[in-house]
C-alpha cells in the first residue's frame, strides 16, 4: 500500500517534469543563447548548454540600441491595448444583447458567431489587403488595429454570450423590478458577474494581436510601423545573416514576462472558459 503510494507520487512528478521540460526547453535554449559570445556559440565542439566563455550583455545592448526593437515593442503594446479596448466595446454589449435582449433568436446565434470565427486570416488577408490599401492605411499601425478585431470580436462575443447566459436570470429580474433600467442592470449586475469571462477576453485579445504574423507581414512593410512578431524576424534576419543572440533575447524579453502574467492568471482563464458550450439555450 505504502510503496504503491510512493510509486504513484514518483510517477506523478516524473510526468510533470517531462511536460515542464517540453514546455520550457526552447525558452531555456533561448535564454542561454541570448548571453553567449559569438566565439562560444559557433564552436560545434562546445557544450551548447554551458557558458564556455563568460556570458555577455552586448547582444541585448545591440538589440536595444542598434535595431528598431524598442519601436516594435511600443507598436505591439499600442496596438494590443487599443485592440483590447475595441474588442471589449464591441463584444461585451453584443454578447449581452444576444444573451438577454434579443429573445430566442439571439440565444440561438452562438453557432452563427462561431462560423464567423471559423473564417481564418489566411482567407481574408488578400481582400483585406485591398481594403487597407483603399483606406490608405497600408504601412501604418492603424491597418492592424482595424483588422485584428475581426479575430477577437467573434471569439470574445461567443465566450461572453455563454457567460452572460449562465448568470441566473432571477438576479437581473429582481433588479429590474426594483426599478433599475436595463442599462443599469447591465452595468451594475451583469458586468461585475462576468469579470472572469471579460478577463479571459482581455488576455485572449491581447495575445492574439501580439502574435499575429500574417496581417502584420502583409499590411506593413515599413520598419517603423512593424510589430514584434513581424519586425523581429525581418530586422534580425538579414539575408543569410542571423543575429541569433539578439533574436533569442528579443523573444525571451516578450515571452517570459507574459508567461508569468498568464501563469498567475491560469485559474482565471480556466474560469473564463467555464461556460456553457454552443448548444440549445437555457432560458
Amino acid at each position: 500500500m505504502r510503496t504503491g503510494q510512493t510509486l504513484r507520487t514518483v510517477g506523478f512528478y516524473a510526468a510533470l517534469l517531462l511536460f515542464c521540460a517540453f514546455a520550457i526547453f526552447p525558452a531555456a535554449w533561448m535564454l542561454i543563447t541570448a548571453f553567449k559570445r559569438n566565439a562560444d556559440l559557433y564552436d560545434p565542439a562546445n557544450n551548447p548548454f554551458l557558458f564556455n566563455l563568460p556570458p555577455t550583455l552586448s547582444h541585448i545592448g545591440f538589440l536595444f540600441t542598434e535595431t528598431n526593437y524598442p519601436v516594435f515593442l511600443w507598436n505591439s503594446l499600442f496596438i494590443g491595448v487599443i485592440v483590447v479596448a475595441i474588442t471589449l466595446v464591441l463584444a461585451v454589449p453584443a454578447a449581452y444583447s444576444l444573451a438577454r435582449l434579443m429573445g430566442h433568436w439571439g440565444e440561438h446565434s452562438s453557432i452563427a458567431i462561431f462560423l464567423v470565427y471559423l473564417i481564418p486570416p489566411t482567407l481574408l488577408f488578400i481582400p483585406l489587403y485591398e481594403v487597407v490599401t483603399l483606406l490608405d492605411l497600408a504601412n501604418t499601425v492603424w491597418s492592424l488595429i482595424l483588422v485584428y478585431p475581426t479575430i477577437t470580436v467573434p471569439f470574445c462575443t461567443w465566450l461572453l454570450l455563454s457567460f452572460f447566459r449562465s448568470i441566473p436570470r432571477e438576479i437581473e429580474e429582481a433588479a429590474l423590478t426594483d426599478g433599475w433600467s436595463r442599462v443599469g442592470v447591465f452595468f451594475r449586475v451583469a458586468l461585475p458577474l462576468a469579470i472572469p469571462g471579460i478577463t479571459t477576453c482581455v488576455v485572449f485579445a491581447f495575445a492574439l494581436s501580439l502574435s499575429d504574423y500574417i496581417y502584420a507581414a502583409v499590411f506593413v512593410s515599413s520598419t517603423g510601423s512593424r510589430t514584434v512578431s513581424a519586425g523581429v524576424p525581418t530586422e534580425l534576419i538579414r539575408g543569410d545573416i542571423y543575429y541569433w543572440q539578439a533574436l533569442m533575447a528579443a523573444t525571451a524579453i516578450v515571452g517570459l514576462p507574459l508567461a508569468v502574467v498568464y501563469g498567475l492568471l491560469f485559474d482565471w482563464l480556466v474560469k473564463g472558459f467555464q461556460v456553457e458550450l454552443p448548444r440549445s439555450p437555457r432560458a
Partner: protein, 324 residues
C-alpha cells in the same frame, strides 16, 4: 449534472409564453436596447469579415494581380483549375491535412495527460502553471524563430545531445553526417512543424479542457474510489466521458488555428526542401502576395473553407449530441 441543469432550464424556457413578456412591455424596450448594443459589432463584422469574404470569392474568379488589384474581368473557375494542377498545391493540400491530423492526435493525448496532472493539488503548482503556459505566451512568430535556432542544421543542441550519447556522427546508427538536418528533409520537416504546433497549442487546449475537468462533481470520484475503481477505470469511465464535449471544442479551436495558420512553416521550413513541406495558407501567401497573383492566392485560400466548415459542423453536431 450539467445535462440535468440544461434540460431543466430549457423546459422552463420553452414553457414561458412569449406573450407574457410582450404584455409587460419589457420585450419591446429590450429589443430596442438590444439592437443598439448589438449593432456596432454586427456592422463591424459585416464590413470586415463578410464583405471581404465575398470579395475573396470575387477575386478568385477574376484576373486581379497586385499590380492591378481591381476586379474587372471574370475568368470563371480558371484560377481554381490552374492552381490545382500545380505540384506545389498538391503538396500543400497533403501536408495541411497530415499536419492537422497528426497535431490533433498528439494534442488530444497530451492534453488529457496534462489536465490529469494539473487537476491535483501539489506544492509548486503555481510555478508549474507558469512553466506550462509559457509556449502560449510567446508570440508564434518569435517562438518559431526560437525553434529555427533549436533545429539549426549545424548547431542544434538536440543533435549535440544525440551525438553525446553516441547515436549520431560518423560510424553511428544515425550517421555518418554530424547532423540530422531537421528542416532540410521532407518528413523530419513535417515532424518538426507538428512538434512546434503541439508545443504551442497545448497550453490553450489544456485551459479549455481544464475548465470542464474542474466542473466534474467531486462526489463522482469519491464514489468511484469507494467502489474500488482503479485509476484507468476512473479515467475512461468517468473523466473522459464527462470531458468529451470540452475535448471536441478544444480540438475544434486547434484545427482552426493549425489548419489556417502559416506562421510556423513560413519561418521554419519555408515550405522546403522543394515544396515538400508546403501548406495551403503559406502557398496562398507566396502565390498571392509574393508572386503577385492575387486571384490565384485567393483561390488557394478558399480551399481552406470547405474543410473548416465541414470540421466545424461535425464538431458542433457532436457537441450537441453530447448534450442531448
Amino acid at each position: 449534472m450539467r445535462n440535468e441543469e440544461g434540460f431543466g432550464g430549457r423546459r422552463e424556457g420553452y414553457g414561458k409564453p412569449p406573450q407574457r413578456e410582450a404584455r409587460i412591455g419589457i420585450a419591446d424596450r429590450d429589443g430596442v436596447v438590444g439592437a443598439i448594443m448589438l449593432a456596432p459589432a454586427v456592422i463591424y463584422v459585416i464590413a470586415l469579415v463578410a464583405v471581404p469574404f465575398f470579395l475573396a470569392i470575387a477575386l478568385s474568379l477574376s484576373e486581379a494581380t497586385v499590380g492591378n488589384p481591381t476586379i474587372q474581368q471574370f475568368v470563371g473557375l480558371d484560377n481554381f483549375i490552374s492552381v490545382v494542377y500545380d505540384a506545389a498545391f498538391m503538396f500543400a493540400l497533403r501536408n495541411s491535412i497530415i499536419i492537422t491530423v497528426a497535431t490533433l492526435v498528439l494534442l488530444t493525448i497530451l492534453t488529457i495527460l496534462q489536465v490529469e496532472l494539473l487537476a491535483r493539488d501539489f506544492p509548486g503548482k503555481r510555478l508549474a502553471q507558469i512553466l506550462l503556459i509559457l509556449p502560449w505566451a510567446m508570440p508564434v512568430a518569435l517562438a518559431a524563430v526560437g525553434w529555427l535556432w533549436l533545429l539549426d542544421s549545424e548547431f542544434s543542441p538536440i543533435d549535440w545531445i544525440i551525438r553525446a550519447v553516441g547515436l549520431l556522427g560518423p560510424g553511428t546508427m544515425l550517421g555518418p553526417a554530424n547532423n540530422l538536418f531537421y528542416l532540410g528533409r521532407e518528413w523530419l520537416g513535417i515532424g518538426a512543424v507538428v512538434t512546434i504546433n503541439v508545443w504551442r497549442t497545448l497550453p490553450l487546449s489544456t485551459i479549455i479542457v481544464m475548465a470542464g475537468r474542474t466542473a466534474i462533481p467531486g462526489e463522482l470520484f469519491e464514489q468511484a474510489e469507494l467502489d474500488g475503481a482503479g485509476y484507468f477505470r476512473v479515467l475512461f469511465q468517468i473523466t473522459l466521458p464527462a470531458l468529451a464535449i470540452l475535448l471536441i471544442v478544444a480540438i475544434l479551436f486547434t484545427v482552426l488555428v493549425i489548419f489556417g495558420d502559416m506562421t510556423v512553416v513560413a519561418l521554419t521550413t519555408r515550405g522546403g526542401p522543394g515544396y515538400t513541406t508546403e501548406i495551403l495558407p503559406y502557398w496562398a501567401y507566396l502565390k498571392g502576395i509574393q508572386g503577385g497573383a492575387l486571384s490565384q492566392g485567393a483561390a488557394i485560400a478558399l480551399f481552406l473553407f470547405p474543410v473548416l466548415l465541414a470540421v466545424s459542423i461535425l464538431a458542433l453536431r457532436m457537441a450537441y449530441r453530447g448534450q442531448e
